[in-house]
C-alpha cells in the first residue's frame, strides 16, 4: 500500500498554491481588523462606554439585575431571575468591541471576519489537498503540522463566532498569529509532500496527532484570552484605584470584554481541552507501546507533554485555591501554554528524541 500511494505532484503543488493564497487573504483580513480598531478608536460611543465603566468600577460592587431568557408573550407574568455576583468581585460591563460601536469600525470588522472565513476555506482546502496528494493524514512533519494547527485555531474561532459567542476581540491577534505560523511553516519548516517513515504507519497517527493539534489550537485561543485578561485586569485595577491608564492602553483596553469575562472565557477553554490533552498523551503512550516497546520512556516529547499537562493541572487547581485565583492562575496558564509551544517547536528543533521525523 505504501509505495503504491506515490506522491501526487500536481495536488501537492495545488496545496502549496492554496496555502499561499490563504496567506494573502489572511493579510487582507489583518488590515481589515486594523481598520476596525482604528475606526473604533475614534468612536464617541467608546468614550461614553468608558465613562460609564469608570462609574460602575468605582461604585463598588453593584448589583446586576438581569432578565434571563423569558421567551413567549406573557413576559410580565413570568418570574424574573435576579443574579447577584459574589461579594468582592468587580462588576464591570464588557467593552463595546474593537469597532467601539462605530458603524465604519463594525463594517470593517465584518469584512475582516468574512475575509477570515474565506482564508480559512482556502487554507483548509490546502490542507486537504496536501493530504490527498500523499493519501495519508497530513501530519507527517512540522510543516504539515503547522498548517493544520492554524487551520484548526481559525476553525475553532469561527465556530465560536457561529455559536454567537463574544469572541470577535480575538480576531486581530489570531490572524496575526496565523500569518506568523504560516510564514514560518512555508519558509523554514517547509518539507516536500512525501510518504511517511515506517514508524508513522499507524492509525494512531490519526488519533494522537489530530488531538494534539486540536489541543494546541484551542489552548492557543485560551492563552490569548488569558493574556488579554492580564492587561484588562490591570487596566480595571487602575481605574478602580483612580489611576488614569495611558491613552493608547485606554483606547485598546476599554473596548475589550471585562476582565471577568476574559478570565471565564480562558478558563472554560482550558478546562474543556484539558481532558482532550490528557487523552492525547494517553493515546501517544498506547502508540509508543506499539511502536517502541514501552508506553512511557521519558522521551523529550513525552517529558514536555507531561510538563505541559502538569502545568495546566496546576492552573486548574490554582483557580480553586485561595491566594492563587486571578492573576497568579493566569500566569500559570501562560506558562502552561509556553510549555506546549516549547514542546512543539523547542523539542523538535533543539532536542533530539524519538519524535524526530522527516528532517525535523
Amino acid at each position: 500500500m505504501n509505495l503504491a500511494a506515490a506522491t501526487n505532484e500536481s495536488l501537492a503543488n495545488a496545496s502549496n498554491t492554496l496555502i499561499y493564497s490563504s496567506m494573502a487573504v489572511y493579510t487582507l483580513a489583518f488590515f481589515a481588523h486594523i481598520a476596525e480598531w482604528v475606526f473604533g478608536s475614534r468612536s464617541k460611543v467608546g468614550r461614553t462606554a468608558a465613562a460609564l465603566k469608570k462609574d460602575s468600577a468605582t461604585g463598588g460592587s453593584a448589583v446586576k439585575a438581569q432578565v434571563a431568557q423569558q421567551g413567549g408573550t406573557a413576559v410580565l407574568d413570568r418570574p424574573r431571575i435576579v443574579t447577584r455576583s459574589a461579594a468582592g468581585t468587580r462588576d464591570v460591563p464588557d467593552g463595546p468591541g474593537a469597532a467601539g460601536g462605530t458603524f465604519k469600525g463594525d463594517l470593517w470588522g465584518r469584512i475582516a471576519v468574512s475575509l477570515t472565513v474565506v482564508a480559512f476555506a482556502v487554507q483548509a482546502a490546502g490542507v486537504v489537498a496536501r493530504a490527498l496528494s500523499v493519501q495519508r493524514a497530513p501530519w507527517g512533519n512540522m510543516y504539515e503540522f503547522s498548517i493544520t494547527f492554524s487551520t484548526v485555531a481559525v476553525g475553532a474561532y469561527l465556530t465560536l463566532l457561529a455559536l454567537r459567542k463574544n469572541v470577535r476581540w480575538i480576531g486581530l491577534l489570531l490572524v496575526t498569529t496565523v500569518l506568523l505560523d504560516l510564514g514560518i511553516a512555508t519558509t523554514t519548516l517547509y518539507t516536500d509532500s512525501d510518504q511517511l517513515v515506517p514508524a508513522l504507519h499507524s492509525y494512531w497517527l490519526w488519533i494522537h496527532v489530530s488531538t494534539a493539534i486540536i489541543c494546541g489550537a484551542v489552548f492557543y485561543l485560551g492563552a490569548v484570552g488569558t493574556l488579554l485578561y492580564l492587561f484588562r485586569d490591570s487596566y480595571e485595577n487602575k481605574l478602580a484605584n483612580g489611576v488614569t491608564p495611558g491613552k493608547f492602553a485606554t483606547s485598546v483596553l476599554e473596548r475589550l470584554p471585562a476582565a471577568k469575562t476574559l478570565d471565564t472565557f480562558s478558563y472554560r477553554i482550558n478546562a474543556a481541552v484539558f481532558p482532550l490533552w490528557t487523552f492525547t498523551i494517553i493515546a501517544g503512550a498506547i502508540w509508543a507501546g506499539d511502536a517502541w516497546g514501552r508506553y512511557w520512556g521519558w522521551d523529550p516529547k513525552e517529558v514536555w507533554s507531561f510538563i505541559t499537562w502538569v502545568a495546566y493541572a496546576a492552573y486548574l487547581h490554582a483557580r480553586a485555591t485561595a491566594g492563587w485565583k486571578g492573576r497568579k492562575a493566569a500566569y500559570l496558564a501562560l506558562v502552561a501554554f509556553g510549555c506546549w509551544l516549547f514542546n512543539y517547536y523547542g523539542v523538535n528543533i533543539f532536542v533530539t528524541g524519538k519524535h524526530s521525523y522527516a528532517g525535523v
Binding site: Q66, V82, R84, A87, H201, I286, A291
Partner: protein, 564 residues
C-alpha cells in the same frame, strides 16, 4: 463591604457547605505550639493542603525539565557516555545531582512521592465526606434566599403545600435529589462532579502504582538476528538484557522464533530519497517449549505478541557472508557477519574475527582479523566517497583490510564484536609495504600476501534486531488512564448546584414563592436553569393578580434590598 461579607458567610453557611469537598485553606501562619504530635499534625495539614500540592506540581514539572535536555541513562546510555566525555567539567556535578538518571533520582522520586502522599491525604477524607453527603440530604434553605447568586420570587394563589409538592415533582423529574425540610424544598444535582473528581485522582494513583509495578517486574532485552537464524526466549540468548529489580528469570515466557526474511523498501526519488518506507521482518514462531509453528510479519508498529511478551522490530542492517581460506586452500571460516549501520544510508562497519582453525603457511596456529566497511550502494570508483548513497542493495561493496596475530579474545575480558583490538596484531601489507586493502563486490576474493590464504565476499544477507519486552501491569495503567479521562470529564463538565423553593402564605392570604440557586462556581447556566424551573413551577402556581400596584413586582425589590 466587609460587613456584608461576614453576613454573607453566615447566611449561606450551611446551605453552601459541602457543595464541594475541597479542603479548606487554612492560614499558614498558624504554627502549632509544640510537641512532636503537634508538629506532625501541622506537617500533615501542610502537606495535604492545596497550596503545597500546587507547589509540588510545579516542582514536578520543573524537575522533569533537566531530563529532557541532558541525555538519560534510561533512554540512551551511549549518548550519556558521549556527553560525559565532551563535558568533563559539569559531569561530576551532574553525577552528584543524578542528572543522568533524573526520573529515578532521589529528588525527583521525593517530589512525586510527596505529591502522591499529599494526594492520598486529600482524597481519603474527601471520599469519606462525599459518602457522607451521598447518604445525607441537601441542606435546608438559608434564611434569606435573596442573598443567593440567582433568585426569583412571585406571588400566587396556590397553597404553599401544593407549591412544595409541585416543586418536588419538577425537581425530581429533572433528577435533582430533593426533599422538604424546614418549610422549603431543598434540591441538589451534579453529584457526578465530585464522583468524577475523586475517580480522577484515584485513577492517577492506580496509574502510578501500575507504572511502578511495571518498572519493577519488567524485562527488556535486545537480539540481533541474521536472516535464517532464530531466537529462543532464555536469558543466555539475549545480546543485552535489562530487568526490574523484582524480575525473576522464570518470568520469561517460553517461545522462540526464526527470522525468515527481512524486507526494507526506501524512497527512490525526490529530496527524501533513501527515507525508509517499509520494514518487514517475516518470522515463524512457536509458543511454549515445542508448540506449533506460526507465521507472522513484524513491522515497526506491529509487534509480535506472545503470552504478554512483545517482540518489536528495532533496527536492521546488512550481514555480508564471508569465507576465509588458509594458505592450503582449506576453508577455515564461513559466516555471515552483521555490521553496524553508521548513517541513514546504512554505511556499515564491523569486524570479521577468525578465531580458530586458521594456520599460517608454516602450519602455525594464528588468528585473523579484518576491519570491514560496507556500503549497500557504492558511489562508484573515483567518486571520492566510500559512504553509501542509498540504503537499498543497489551496488554493494565491501572494503576490507586485514590483520594477523592474536585477537585478544582469550584474555577473558569481554570484547566488542564490532571492533578489532589490533594491539597484538600485525597488518597485512601489499608489495609496496602499504596496508593491504581492497574493495570487493559479492563473489570477489582478496588474496592475502605471501600465501597467507584468501578472503571471499560471498553474498549479503540482512539482519534485523528485535527488542523483546515484557512489562506487566500495563493493562492496569491503561484502565487507570481511561478512568482518569472519564473522571476528569465529569469533574470539569458537570456543575454541582442546589436549588431551594420556599412558599409561605402571607398575612394577606397570598402565597409568596421564592426560588434561589447556588452553584460552586458562578456560572451563566445557573440562572438559566433556575429560570427554566421557575417557568415550570409557574405553570402550576401562576402569578396572582396584584391586589394593589404598591407592593407588587417584587422581582426587582429584593435585589435592591439585598444590597443594603
Amino acid at each position: 463591604m466587609s460587613n456584608t461579607d461576614i453576613t454573607d458567610e453566615r447566611d449561606l453557611g450551611r446551605a453552601g457547605e459541602q457543595l464541594s469537598t475541597a479542603p479548606r485553606e487554612e492560614a499558614t501562619a498558624s504554627v502549632p505550639a509544640m510537641g512532636v504530635i503537634g508538629w506532625a499534625r501541622w506537617f500533615w495539614r501542610q502537606l495535604t493542603s492545596m497550596r503545597v500540592a500546587l507547589i509540588l506540581l510545579f516542582l514536578l514539572s520543573l524537575g522533569a525539565i533537566p531530563g529532557s535536555l541532558i541525555p538519560q541513562n534510561s533512554v540512551d546510555e551511549l549518548k550519556v557516555q558521549t556527553f560525559k566525555e565532551a563535558h568533563t567539567t559539569v559531569t561530576p556535578v551532574y553525577e552528584k545531582l543524578q542528572f543522568f538518571d533524573v526520573y529515578s533520582s532521589v529528588w525527583f522520586s521525593a517530589i512525586y512521592i510527596l505529591l502522591f502522599v499529599s494526594l492520598i491525604g486529600c482524597i481519603v477524607p474527601r471520599t469519606g465526606q462525599f459518602i457522607g453527603q451521598l447518604r445525607g440530604r441537601p441542606p435546608g434553605a438559608p434564611k434569606k434566599l435573596t442573598r443567593l447568586p440567582a433568585y426569583t420570587t412571585w406571588r400566587t394563589d396556590a397553597d404553599p403545600g401544593q407549591v412544595h409538592e409541585a416543586a418536588l415533582g419538577i425537581l425530581r423529574r429533572r433528577r435533582f435529589r430533593s426533599h422538604v425540610v424546614g418549610g422549603a424544598v431543598s434540591a441538589e444535582k451534579g453529584y457526578l462532579r465530585e464522583t468524577g473528581n475523586l475517580l480522577f485522582h484515584i485513577a492517577l494513583i492506580v496509574m502510578l502504582v501500575a507504572f511502578a509495578g511495571g518498572q519493577l517486574f519488567k524485562s527488556e532485552g535486545g537480539k540481533l538476528i541474521v536472516e535464517g537464524d532464530g531466537f529462543a526466549n532464555t536469558i543466555t540468548q539475549y545480546d543485552d538484557f535489562k530487568s526490574g529489580s523484582l524480575f525473576d528469570n522464570d518470568d520469561l515466557a517460553p517461545f522462540s522464533f526464526d527470522l525468515q526474511d527481512f524486507v526494507g523498501t526506501y524512497e527512490r526519488t525526490g529530496p527524501q530519497r533513501g527515507t525508509p518506507r517499509t520494514y518487514e521482518a517475516r518470522v515463524t514462531y512457536s509458543e511454549g517449549a515445542d508448540g506449533k509453528t506460526k507465521k507472522k510479519v513484524i513491522e515497526v508498529n506491529k509487534p509480535l505478541v506472545v503470552d504478554g511478551t512483545k517482540v518489536y522490530l528495532n533496527a536492521h542492517g546488512y550481514a555480508p557472508v564471508i569465507s576465509v581460506k588458509d594458505g592450503r586452500g582449506k576453508e577455515v571460516y564461513r559466516s555471515s557477519v552483521p555490521l553496524l549501520p553508521i548513517d541513514n544510508n546504512v554505511t556499515s562497519t564491523g569486524a570479521i574475527k577468525v578465531m580458530d582453525g586458521y594456520k599460517d603457511k608454516n602450519g602455525k596456529k594464528e588468528q585473523l582479523g579484518f576491519q570491514a566497511f560496507f556500503v549497500p550502494t557504492f558511489a562508484g570508483d573515483g567518486q571520492g566517497t566510500m559512504f553509501s548513497q542509498y540504503p537499498g542493495l543497489d551496488y554493494p561493496v565491501l572494503a576490507l583490510n586485514g590483520y594477523y596475530g592474536s585477537l585478544g579474545v582469550d584474555s577473558g575480558l569481554p570484547q566488542n564484536v564490532y571492533q578489532l583490538d589490533t594491539s597484538d596484531m600485525k597488518q597485512f601489507e601489499d608489495s609496496n609495504g602499504d596496508q593491504l586493502k581492497k574493495r570487493l563486490r559479492p563473489g570477489e576474493t582478496m588474496q592475502l600476501p605471501d600465501g597467507a590464504g584468501s578472503i571471499t565476499f560471498e553474498s549479503v544477507e540482512e539482519w534485523a534486531s528485535f527488542q523483546i519486552t515484557r512489562q506487566p501491569a500495563s493493562g492496569w495503567a491503561l484502565t487507570g488512564a481511561v478512568a482518569a479521562i472519564a473522571g476528569l470529564a465529569g469533574s470539569l463538565f458537570i456543575q454541582r448546584r442546589r436549588v431551594w423553593v420556599r412558599a409561605v402564605k402571607g398575612p394577606d392570604g397570598v402565597t409568596v414563592v421564592e426560588m434561589a440557586g447556588l452553584g460552586r462556581s458562578e456560572s451563566a447556566k445557573l440562572p438559566e436553569e433556575l429560570a427554566d424551573l421557575a417557568i415550570a413551577l409557574h405553570t402550576v402556581a401562576p402569578t396572582a393578580p396584584d391586589p394593589e400596584p404598591e407592593p407588587d413586582r417584587p422581582s426587582e425589590e429584593p435585589a435592591e434590598g439585598a444590597e443594603k
